[in-house]
Symmetry: C2
Subunit: 385 residues, 2 copies
């Protein structure tokens, strides 16, 4: 297997893009990534997307996006793992380059959600849950995560307001990210006053539906320097799974998919959680941020919320998360989010994160979750010195 | 890159399975394939599926199917390329094993269509076309292919009845395939009398919506004999793309995606069309069968229908196609079809095709199309002597 490097990145602003179509969003991110890498063509394109079939009336995005981006003819496929779809597409792109099946690959995550009615978005997101045993009986994605949060509060003795630091941290960091959807800070008081969505999850504990696209260009590690002044090596790429339905899991508060993906990634990279300088996790709800910190080995069970309360998730904390706003404040265009996370870690490792720069960031980790954790996909990235 | 072999296959009967769910169909095919291979666990699972989100209310099939098949925890992703999704999942499985990222991989194609209303199926299939420029203006998948067929008849001077041999051949071969949906022969007269669906495409020129699942188990070629008495080597795996919208293509009657995929596959395998003993093509409509024969180099432009009229596509003809019934008579469970094609070629290469055995079959080729040819995926398989 070959080393794989990221030699270029691109992203659109995350928000409500009612004036452009899904293919235009993908195009903008791909063009930016190809320009950043200084390449005009690729061997293959992998598209991460969750909901274009349901919300935009379009399957078959691989060939569609390839053609619209001027890459018609190249190998192009769509990869889906609910809202971990962007990371899933990166996983396949990594496989293609690592295995020697392709040299230059572009991976794009794209989602367009905000044209749809609110009910359609709730329905679309619920397709990440177990259709026969969760959503069919009213278990929307938010409802399932509300149950997890309630159980966590009961087991470990937290109050709902204790989850505020995840949102406060995300909004603080989004202020300086020009691509973020919600570029304003919030206080714990504003969090506490937010309307309830699905008790105990309130509006400021929920990542917003959004439109956006992000892209990365991959190349073999030994050729990376010819393309980029500061390439970033993919030190690990790993997928873990679990039952979709929370009631089928060994323990509702152990994200086994995330633990497996993180363990596999640490083993591939030969590192431990102590070596990771920042962690872009999948905080679509505060409860998932807490459980991800625990599953990935940054906190003991029940201590994820404690870490946030103790200020350890900030830019200069023990393990910075949501450094560019995270799912909560950068926005969560479902199938695109996994690639946004990677683009943001690359910015950090290249020293391009501006006001949000994590000092001396050398090793960064991403973790995308599908739904409430049926799938977890982890990548570890390293600045090539 | 390593050699990759198919060491086990499984398939459900194709038909209307109103009494079992999508996950049960996938389970049945996976269990059969694992039993055939004699393995109990795998390193990864890749699921090919087109329409579960729209027709079955379920995305996130990778983790769902892995869990239900007793493989919870393993890497699992869904791959989609419209009705080439099964072949797309095999492409990713091939990459994983060829690249050394996994040793034992199971690939399953699964689709459940017939619970849905007819209008929902038409809508679902139309998601393979260009949503903004074809289906939005009424260009359903059948309508787009009807335009292609009309143009072919005009350019090359054929009549609608000249397409009958594709359906007659498919139905003849399905009689002896116990897994096929329509196990009865038809005559050219019955074809001619069939009701029109979308002029000039009639009912017997259209592959039926269906439910079904098919699976294959992959292993490194050098270990294949320890699992299977008659393993089959994947000599080539290739993807080609083109514009989804027919009006955006260089020539409507040249399936550029299919030509690219076939050329790439021939190059990988170091063979020519003359070396291929059977060709499981994507005959969802007779016109696509003709265009695939031409794009893959078996017939000159305009001669695909002539080949069929001359009896060259039968089991003892120059290039047997649809040897187990094809999309028309085995049935076309969209995202599963690509894996059915591969399972059928494996049966032929192992000498297990019974009454439908192609004499001395050594090298077989599959080609799956997405929609009207936006994507084409080709695999060349060889019996390991």
């Amino acid at each position: 297997m070959r080393d794989v490097a990221i030699i270029g990145t691109g992203e659109t602003k995350v928000g409500e893009h009612w004036d452009v179509s899904l293919r235009h969003l993908a195009l903008e991110a791909i063009q930016a990534a190809l320009a950043d890498a200084g390449v005009a063509t690729v061997d293959a394109l992998y598209v991460g997307n969750m909901l274009a079939g349901e919300l935009a009336g379009q399957e078959h995005l691989g060939a569609l996006v390839a053609d619209f981006a001027g890459l018609s003819g190249v190998e192009a496929l769509r990869v889906e793992a609910a809202d971990a779809s962007g990371a899933a597409a990166l996983r396949v792109g990594y496989m293609a380059v690592a295995g020697g099946l392709a040299d230059i690959v572009v991976v794009v995550g794209v989602e367009k959600m905000t044209d749809a009615l609110a009910g359609e978005i709730v329905y679309g997101r619920s397709l990440a849950t177990d259709g026969d045993y969760e959503s069919a009986v009213g278990g929307s994605l938010t409802a399932v995560n509300a149950l997890l949060m309630r159980r966590y509060m009961h087991e470990y003795g937290y109050a709902q307001r204790d989850f505020a630091p995840f949102a406060v941290n995300a909004h603080r960091n989004a202020v300086h990210n020009p691509q973020a959807m919600f570029r304003f800070p919030i206080t714990p008081e504003r969090f506490a006053a937010a309307p309830m969505v699905c008790d105990p999850i309130n509006l400021f504990d929920s990542a917003p539906a959004a439109d956006g696209a992000a892209a990365v260009v991959l190349a073999p590690g030994d050729a990376a320097r010819t393309f980029s002044a500061v390439p970033v090596r993919i030190r690990a790429s790993a997928v873990g799974t679990d039952a979709l339905a929370v009631h089928d899991r060994h323990h509702p508060l152990l994200l086994r998919s995330a633990a497996l993906a993180a363990q596999r990634a640490y083993e591939q990279a030969g590192v431990t959680p102590q070596d990771i300088d920042l962690f872009e996790l999948h905080g679509s709800f505060g409860i998932l941020a807490a459980l991800s910190l625990e599953a990935a080995g940054f906190a003991a069970p029940g201590q994820g919320v404690r870490m946030a309360l103790d200020g350890e998730i900030g830019l200069t904390g023990r393990i910075p998360i949501a450094t560019m706003g995270g799912l909560k404040a950068r926005g969560h265009p479902a199938g695109a989010t996994g690639v946004y996370q990677v683009v943001e870690v690359v910015h950090q490792l290249r020293g391009l994160a501006g006001e949000n720069q994590v000092p001396n960031a050398r090793l960064g980790m991403t973790q995308s979750l599908g739904g409430s954790g049926g799938t977890a996909i982890t990548h570890i990235l390293e600045r090539m010195e």
